[in-house]
């Protein structure tokens, strides 16, 4: 008798649990389904790139084989031709120089601007911060005409140093905005403690704020890197000789001649061009740890 009464609630609880786990199972199935769908959707283009870059021109020209598989065996000819017979390596070097310079300039300006706008409250700092963000909302397709005049006046037309000048107009506003948010999220007691400990503004910035806001700085760096690595409109407008060209525009202009597409080399070029951002993402994501500020204050 007691056994029966004891199992009553247990059975009910069991039923409840099983219905809970059943709905959880369905939620899992649904999320797996959509995750796989999206993975296929996003991974198909890179897959097509890899497959195409490893084929010979002859196989590509032959319409009888499936474009999704390599029928004649893997060849690195496309890469060899890309590196030896085109200016690809020059484009790569130019892009690297422009990107590194842009990232450095952007981070110096953004961190200093964000620190002063986010932490050192002064008259008009709020309006200035909003103003900076508003400049980001102006699209580069609108800006390139006035910028053309400026770049030309400075004698930087058809020079990748011109890109070092104009890319920060795209990156600084957004990076500053991200960093303002990060700096503002750091509790104000931390700078007060540093002030009492004897730190000046610069010591506070370099010894407290930059280390604490590192996840934000890394996020901003990734953004600046991606924007300047993948910029298209500005180099398209301001650069026209091969020795000054960057990857995005250079690959397309040198490998598409009128209606002749060198698909193999285009795909190989796109693959090599995509590698640095990929490596940077993979490397920095490990450091991209939110919650670095945990423990600073009551958490």
């Amino acid at each position: 008798m007691t056994a029966v009464t004891a199992t009553g609630p247990a059975v009910r609880a069991g039923r409840k649990r099983s219905s809970l786990s059943r709905s959880r199972k369905w939620a899992l199935y649904a999320s797996y389904f959509f995750l796989i769908l999206f993975a296929i959707f996003f991974l198909l283009p890179p897959y097509y790139m890899i497959v195409t870059s490893l084929k010979s021109d002859a196989e590509m020209a032959r319409l009888s084989t499936s474009p999704w598989i390599i029928a004649d065996g893997v060849t690195l000819d496309q890469f060899r031709l890309l590196f030896t017979q085109t200016d690809f390596l020059i484009f790569f070097k130019n892009t690297a120089i422009v990107t590194v310079c842009t990232v450095v300039i952007t981070m110096i300006i953004s961190v200093l601007a964000a620190f002063s706008l986010g932490r050192m409250k002064f008259w008009g700092s709020g309006i200035l911060a909003t103003g900076i963000f508003l400049t980001y909302l102006v699209p580069d397709t609108l800006l390139f005409i006035p910028l053309f005049q400026i770049v030309k006046a400075l004698g930087l037309l058809n020079s990748y140093w011109g890109m070092v000048l104009v890319y920060p107009t795209l990156t600084v506003p957004f990076c500053t905005w991200i960093m303002i948010g990060y700096f503002q999220s750091i509790p104000k007691e931390l700078d007060e403690a540093a002030l009492i400990d004897g730190a000046g503004h610069m010591q506070m910035l370099f010894k407290i704020f930059i280390p604490v806001a590192l996840p934000g700085i890394i996020a901003a760096t990734i953004f600046a890197f991606t924007v300047s690595w993948a910029a298209f409109v500005y180099p398209m407008t301001f650069l026209y000789s091969a020795d000054q060209q960057v990857l995005t525009v250079g690959t397309v202009t040198s490998l598409i001649k009128a209606d002749v597409y060198k698909w193999g080399m285009l795909m190989a070029g796109a693959l090599v061009a995509a590698a640095p951002p990929l490596v940077i993402y993979a490397f920095l994501m490990d450091y991209y740890i939110a919650g670095l500020t945990a423990g600073a204050t009551k958490g």
Partner: protein, 366 residues
Amino acid sequence: MAEVALRNVVKSYGEVVAVKNVNLDIPNHEFLVLVGPSGCGKSTTLRMIAGLEEITDGEISIGGEVVNDLPPKDRDIAMVFQNYALYPHMTVAENMSFGLRLRKFAKSEIKARVDNAARILDITELLERRPKQLSGGQRQRVAMGRAIVRNPKVFLFDEPLSNLDAKLRVQMRTEIKRVHQKVKTTTVYVTHDQVEAMTLADRVVVMNGGKIEQIGTPNELYHQPKTRFVAGFIGSPAMNFIPGRLETNGSGLKVRLSDKLTIAVPESRAARYRGASGKDVLFGLRPEHITETRGHNGGSQGQEFGVTLDVVEPMGMETMVFFKIGDTEVCGRVEPTAAKGAGESMQLRANLDHMHLIDPATNQVM
């Protein structure tokens, strides 16, 4: 170590005056507690001493030197914050030594000071950890360690225990007192918790509405409050205030609290209240002075009266009883064995040696 003095210190934010004409002398080695409700100006006063807020008017001096225009780092003070404000990317040892490193102390000196402070606070084994690997109490100890290593003239504490749970708060309170007894640095401590104020302080400053209500030792504030606010703020549960009228009673005085209840003022107190005879007054008596008839807290003077209990709250070592006098809810503290149930009538005794009369017009204790 040094004395701290505030002369006519004022802080206003535009139209709003947060601190009004505060005068305060804190002698060397003293543990002074600023206590008051939220927004009373106690934290602002502390932050002005620290140099984190500019003063609108007046003068603050530390160790005889006027510091009005000195930045925080040149005032030789150390501060412990409510939320600890530890540097999250530094180890405990680095956190504690940050101020010394900025001041370019020798490495051996830094190590000696950090080790000493860690020993005082019992955190030696935590020195290589980061703040996020510490519990709340440990973080608070590190924050105190950061203050101790500097060996400053003054320690400033801004509600340092508010973020801790009740049990830890009591432990850390004792810890702070122990540290102060060891290092004897002049200390200004802000809290809204009157128990913390009473237990820690050499002297307590009660603030209200930006002004100092009263300065005194914990016992002075408890037994001789000067204003209704202090009488009501210090002590838990709070003092009972019952409106009444002071009347002559033959050669003596009595307070009429309701149609049924009048309280005879003890002779020892009658002289001081005689001038107010015939006036409305607030009769103040702490719950511990309203006891059962053979009162565990009772003095020689006492007046018995009967009440009907509304609410009874057993606390273990004593029982709180709530009842009405006129329209006022009154609290008494009785022996658990003597307490009756809610709704029952009970004979209680008021120990009038501890009574206070307050002028309702000025809110001053007579």
